[in-house]
């Protein structure tokens, strides 16, 4: 025993360079992923995590942009004030209604488009590229063009409505009308993007399923419902989550529709993102803006969690079937 014990430290000695190189290599192998990931996480810490935490810190104070040196402790005061703030609830409601008005038609239309693009036809690649074009346009450019189209006095849409005898609609000041106008821009920009994602999902559905369904005499329509939709479920979940996050953060389109930070003269299309901007950069209440930012963040976390929960329950049900 003692012999072996004294011998045991020996092996490292006679096997010098290869083993050491091996150890270094092994060490590098464990460390290198971290090294490769480090730039991302450093950047994330600086531009993601720090602002997040600092925003939470600011949200507990009364801070004005014009006098950022004087911070007055408010505790949760900024948050409780939001609960009593009529404009906050209004913007929350607007965010929800605009979210539904834009997300639902957008995803339904994207599904239909993807289904059509999935057919064998002439110029398919061109059409597939073309649906992505709106997504490549900048929000600012797109919204400014739509703002012109939706103009009350000189807009093309009201002109067209006039041809069929409908009175001009005040697209900026009407509550429903203005929300439809904002949603239209969102739908226009994102439908093609979602369609391409659905298309990618559709192509991973094996052809045999369709062939089998066709052999069973299922029409194209039934194939869509019974083969395509179930096969796309994970893709649909992804687009729903991404669209929910996008809808909760909606900002550029309502801001640029008429360049109003209050979302119209009576806040009729002010979203949460816009309300945060108005508080922070319109009225310079940085503390309140920070509180709104955190509420938005928590809201997104809850919504995404809810989505995931529903999805998991569904798949569990399916597995149990």
């Amino acid at each position: 025993m003692t012999l072996t014990a004294s011998e045991s430290p020996a092996p490292p000695l006679p096997a010098p360079p290869p083993a050491r190189r091996g150890a270094a290599r092994r060490a590098w192998r464990t460390v290198s992923p971290y090294a490769y990931l480090a730039p991302f996480f450093t950047l994330f810490a600086a531009f993601g995590l720090f602002p997040l935490i600092y925003t939470a810190f600011v949200s507990l104070y009364r801070v004005e942009l014009q006098t950022p040196g004087d911070m007055e402790w408010r505790g949760l005061g900024n948050y409780t004030a939001l609960l009593a703030d009529e404009y906050f609830w209004l913007s929350l409601r607007n965010t929800f209604t605009i979210g539904v008005l834009s997300t639902v038609p957008q995803l339904v239309m994207a599904l239909g488009l993807a289904h059509l693009l999935n057919y064998r036809m002439r110029g398919r690649t061109f059409l597939r590229t073309a649906v992505l074009l709106p997504y490549a346009t900048s929000v600012a450019a797109a919204t400014l063009v739509f703002a012109q189209l939706f103009g009350r006095d000189f807009g093309l849409i009201n002109y067209a409505l006039g041809l069929v005898g409908i009175d001009p609609v005040d697209w900026q000041n009407g509550t429903v009308a203005s929300q439809i106008a904002v949603s239209t821009v969102v739908i226009w920009r994102w439908t093609g993007y979602n369609a391409l994602i659905y298309l990618a999902g559709m192509q991973s559905i094996p052809d045999e399923l369709y062939e089998a369904a066709a052999m069973d005499g299922a029409s194209r329509w039934r194939q869509f419902f019974h083969v395509t939709l179930p096969g796309l479920r994970p893709t649909i979940l992804f687009t729903v989550i991404v669209s929910t996050i996008g809808a909760t953060q909606l900002f550029g389109e309502p801001l640029l529709l008429e360049g109003s930070i209050s979302g119209g003269i009576s806040h009729q299309y002010q979203t949460l993102g816009l309300y945060m901007y108005e508080q922070g950069w319109g009225f310079f209440h940085l503390g309140r803006a920070a509180a709104i930012a955190w509420v938005m963040f928590l809201l997104i976390v809850v919504l995404v969690g809810l989505n995931a929960l529903i999805a998991r329950r569904r798949s569990r049900k399916e597995a149990g079937r």
Binding site: F47, F50, P51, Y54, F57, V58, V63, L65, Q66, T67, P68, G69, D70, M71, E72, W73, D85, E86, Y87, A147, Q148, G151, R152, D153, F154, D170, Q172, N173, E258, G259, S260, I261, S262, I265, S266, G280, W281, G282, F283, F284, H285, L286
Partner: protein, 439 residues
């Protein structure tokens, strides 16, 4: 006690605050950085690039003043950026001030914001006394000079123009509606605001299709409130707007105009408002002197000779006017001071008025422009009309939140105008809006 806590950790907190402000403004800075990094071109051959950041229409470029300054000072290049809406401009200026970067060498300040500069931000702008500005004091109207002076006597900006008020109108539309077009006759008819609104009803009865009496009730309110000495604050700095009878009168008249359907329901500074200048959507627009340049820009050559200017109903008033300031974070402070000193000198102010209509705040220039006429506005004697208004205009009490309160009231008036909201409901909305703004 927050005060005790603050005292204990002021330096730490200030450092954190600055860091935070930088983080919060990062995105905006990235967007603005490009405009102001003229530094890289400096030094080569002793050249200096001065950046000037303004809003609305100061008209320096249009009047050829930059070109002349560059000729007089070889090696100096002037680059101007311009935001149409002052509210947007102020927002981005505040963000850059908080971050302490991305600022131009010269920044324009609207008179409605100057109280915020002197009371809250005097440490972020250069005290121009450093460069000898106090010798310029006698050049300017006393009220104009005083408004840009901080508590410690620091001079934080040099006055550009003032905004004596008048009424601009379209003679061609007046003719079509069978109204007189002579400016003295009109001034008599609309000696009071009630007279102006009554004439509006006459216009409406016979007006060409799709043409309203005035552009928006917001601009009616703005021009009427400009006739008051005290508006939102009293001289002691107390908020008085809710109980201010003068403000209520302006409100009531604007509501009346909205309910009588006299306005084209436009939003000032919006693209639609801009389009309406050329389209003839309205026959009159309350116009401070600086609006003349704006009208020329929007209505273009086709509007030449169709417009005219008459004295304002209800007496003289002042709406707007600006200052030029040099931020502490400017790259070329001394050169910037030389530039704003030249731009605000009486000779340049005179020329600016003759070309663009911006009325001088330099006392020496006011006498010089008395005879000025503007061919674009049917040869109206603008020197005399605006000069009389400037002499009689009240010295206004300025407050930190003037612009924001005005915006909330204008929004509420627009609700009456465009959505048929009851005036009582709109007034309570304005109250809520103001609380939200200041709160």
């Amino acid at each position: 006690m927050p005060i005790a806590r603050a005292a204990a950790t002021t330096t730490v907190r200030r450092a954190v605050a600055r860091l935070g402000a930088v983080a919060l403004t990062g995105a905006l800075l990235a967007a603005c950085g490009g405009a102001s990094d003229g530094a890289s071109t400096d030094g080569a051959g002793g050249g200096v690039t001065l950046t000037v950041d303004l809003f609305g229409s100061f008209g320096y470029k249009e009047a050829g003043l930059y070109a002349e300054y560059e000729k007089l000072h070889p090696g100096v290049t002037i680059k101007q950026t311009d935001t149409e809406d002052e509210a947007d401009y102020w927002k981005s200026l505040q963000t850059r001030l908080a971050g302490g970067a991305g600022l131009a060498d010269v920044q324009g300040i609207e008179v409605g914001r100057i109280a915020s500069v002197t009371q809250q931000q005097s440490d972020r702008f250069e005290d121009l006394r450093k460069y000898g500005a106090e010798t310029l004091k006698d050049q300017f109207a006393p009220a104009k000079w005083a408004a840009a002076t901080g508590k410690g006597g620091e001079v934080l900006g040099l006055g550009t123009d003032v905004g004596p008020e008048a009424m601009c109108y379209r003679t061609d539309l007046f003719k079509q509606a069978g109204l007189p077009t002579d400016r003295t006759q009109l001034a008599e008819k609309w000696a009071t605001w009630d007279g102006y609104l009554a004439l509006g009803k006459q216009y409406k009865a016979k007006a060409p299709a799709k043409s309203a009496w005035l552009d928006s009730v917001g601009s009616l309110y703005s021009i009427m409130i400009g006739q008051q000495k005290e508006r939102y604050y009293d001289a002691s700095g107390k908020l008085i707007w809710e109980d201010n009878p003068a403000l209520r009168t302006a409100w009531d008249h604007s509501v009346q105009a909205a309910q009588d359907g006299l306005s084209a329901k436009l939003d000032q500074w919006s693209p639609q408002w801009n389009q309406a200048f050329a389209a003839g959507s309205f026959a009159t627009i309350p116009c401070p002197a600086w609006m003349l340049g704006y009208i020329k820009g929007q209505a273009g050559d086709t509007g030449k000779g169709k417009w005219d200017v008459a004295a304002l109903p209800g007496g003289a008033g002042n709406w707007g006017g600006s200052y030029l300031s040099v931020p502490k974070a400017a790259k070329h402070k001394k050169e910037a001071y030389e530039l704003i000193k030249w731009l605000t000198a009486p000779e340049q102010q005179t020329r600016l008025f003759e070309k663009q209509g911006n009325f001088p705040s330099a006392t020496g220039a006011i006498a010089k422009v008395a005879a000025a006429k503007d061919p674009y506005f049917s040869g109206a004697p603008i020197g005399q009309i605006f000069g009389d208004a400037a002499k009689a205009a009240p010295v206004q009490v300025l407050g930190v939140h003037d612009q924001n309160i005005a915006q909330q009231i204008t929004n509420a008036l627009s609700e009456v105008e465009r959505k048929g909201t009851s005036p009582e409901k709109a007034w309570s909305n304005a109250k809520k809006g103001v609380e939200n703004t200041i709160g």
